[in-house]
Symmetry: C2
Subunit: 268 residues, 2 copies
């Protein structure tokens, strides 16, 4: 399971304030703590108005790379910003993201074709997110085939089935499962990734929903998550499920996590 | 999802001490708190040497029924003890349990045939617990057919696939899933139940393993659990998963649980 730490994101109010005011101490600690608690990659999203996005992103990428030793996920709605940031990265990470929105794949695929960058691909297009798992699958299949045209192998692609919000869509999980299982079946080497926050939007104690969604997504083959590694509940779900699904055989890593105090204990 | 509270069990040291010393206050509170936190039934297991099991069980059943208003699960390794306790119950609950061990089904099935009692049936026999899901399924199928011979309908049967211990059997969950899915497929009206404690035996912070197993068991169709309702982690997993799987549409019950403070928050 690959963990992409989600906390350096300008759409989170505290992070936005820190990014805007160039609060280096706060951001360095946000980078270090996520890595300390298990992030394999760190997402970098400025959330800053387009005019300043490029310079802010450049500054953030350098800052994070000076602070920690994990690769970054370059996260921008603007594919040209993503492409322009790639040379700054000291080693390949994730581009976050492409979709079937006009211009995204066409801009990003050629730029990463002959590299080791991994690609997050969202199942949406200019009309938004399709309602049906079948339509999501078709968008995924199109992106996978397009990527192949550039020589990008299946194992570098991480499809995000864009799980819905449970509060407004009671079948959000069922739709995610159908999409993920179909992609897994047709393209066994393609990965499944999901953000853990969206499904719980508008619900109280969001972490409980996110943690159980993490477990359930892993059960249908998701092998990467954009999540908050600073949450003990998320870490407990991640490590326990890894052991239960047999990836962490005998629970060696789970037990080490306990010894390192990764899971916390619950207050009544 | 049916929750059977597991705490009044003489195999738990604290409960054993309370049962042995007739600590009424402790046991009444154990009954009441489990019901307050969501138990639909209360398991009653004395853990007392056979000579005194019958009188202890009788005393416990009366005590619990005086304290709370939910039915009991009569839990004994001795099928004759179970059958003898049935007349004490003020309303039908669970018999816990039968298996293909000699004498169990033959004793219990005729006694509950014309009643509304539900039956927990374990997939083991005199040789112990089979290694393979196929052999477990065959034991389940035999018990289901035997029960039908007594006029016991499928919907009164709760098959427990006897999940293994993760620490010694890394494929414990996979084996559970195979058994549960097969039973669900062949006998859609038969229920799947599991104890939540066994899989985590020998692991640290057992609750994390138990909570994620609860979620994963529900994902393959388990609709009853013998569990500790006093654990906020277990409750969070139960209610969040019920919402995610669409049984609790819109998360109404999940949200109410939050308002009632059922899930707690985690200490770092």
């Amino acid at each position: 399971m690959i963990v992409i730490g989600e906390k350096i994101n300008g759409f989170i109010p505290k992070a936005y304030t820190a990014i805007k005011s160039h609060d280096v101490d706060y951001l360095v600690e946000l980078a270090r703590s996520q890595v300390r608690f298990g992030a394999d990659y760190l997402d970098i999203c400025t959330g800053i108005v387009p005019e300043y996005e490029r310079e802010t992103m450049r500054w953030l990428i350098e800052l994070v790379q000076d602070a920690v030793d994990v690769p970054v996920a370059i996260d921008s709605p603007d594919p040209q910003v993503i492409v322009d940031m790639i040379p700054l990265a000291r080693r390949p990470g994730f581009v976050n993201s492409v979709s079937m929105e006009k211009g995204k794949c066409e801009t990003v695929f050629p730029a990463v074709a002959d590299t080791d960058w991994k690609i997050i691909a969202l199942t949406c297009n200019n009309d938004g997110i399709p309602d049906s798992a079948q339509a999501k699958y078709e968008l995924a299949a199109k992106m996978i085939e397009d990527a192949s045209g550039y020589g990008i192998t299946h194992d570098r692609l991480y499809i995000d089935p864009l799980v819905g919000t449970l509060a407004t869509r009671p079948d959000a999980l069922a739709d995610f499962n159908r999409t993920a299982l179909r992609i897994r079946k047709e393209y066994p080497d393609v990965h499944i990734i999901s953000g853990m926050s969206n499904i719980s939007f508008g619900m109280p104690y969001r972490t409980a929903i996110a943690a159980q969604f993490l477990t359930l997504s892993m059960a249908v083959g998701a092998d990467a998550a954009i999540m908050n590694p600073l949450s003990p509940e998320m870490r407990a779900a991640l490590f326990a499920t890894d052991a239960l699904l047999g990836f962490d055989r005998g629970g060696t890593r789970y037990i080490r996590g306990c010894q390192e105090g990764l899971y916390g204990s619950v207050r009544r």
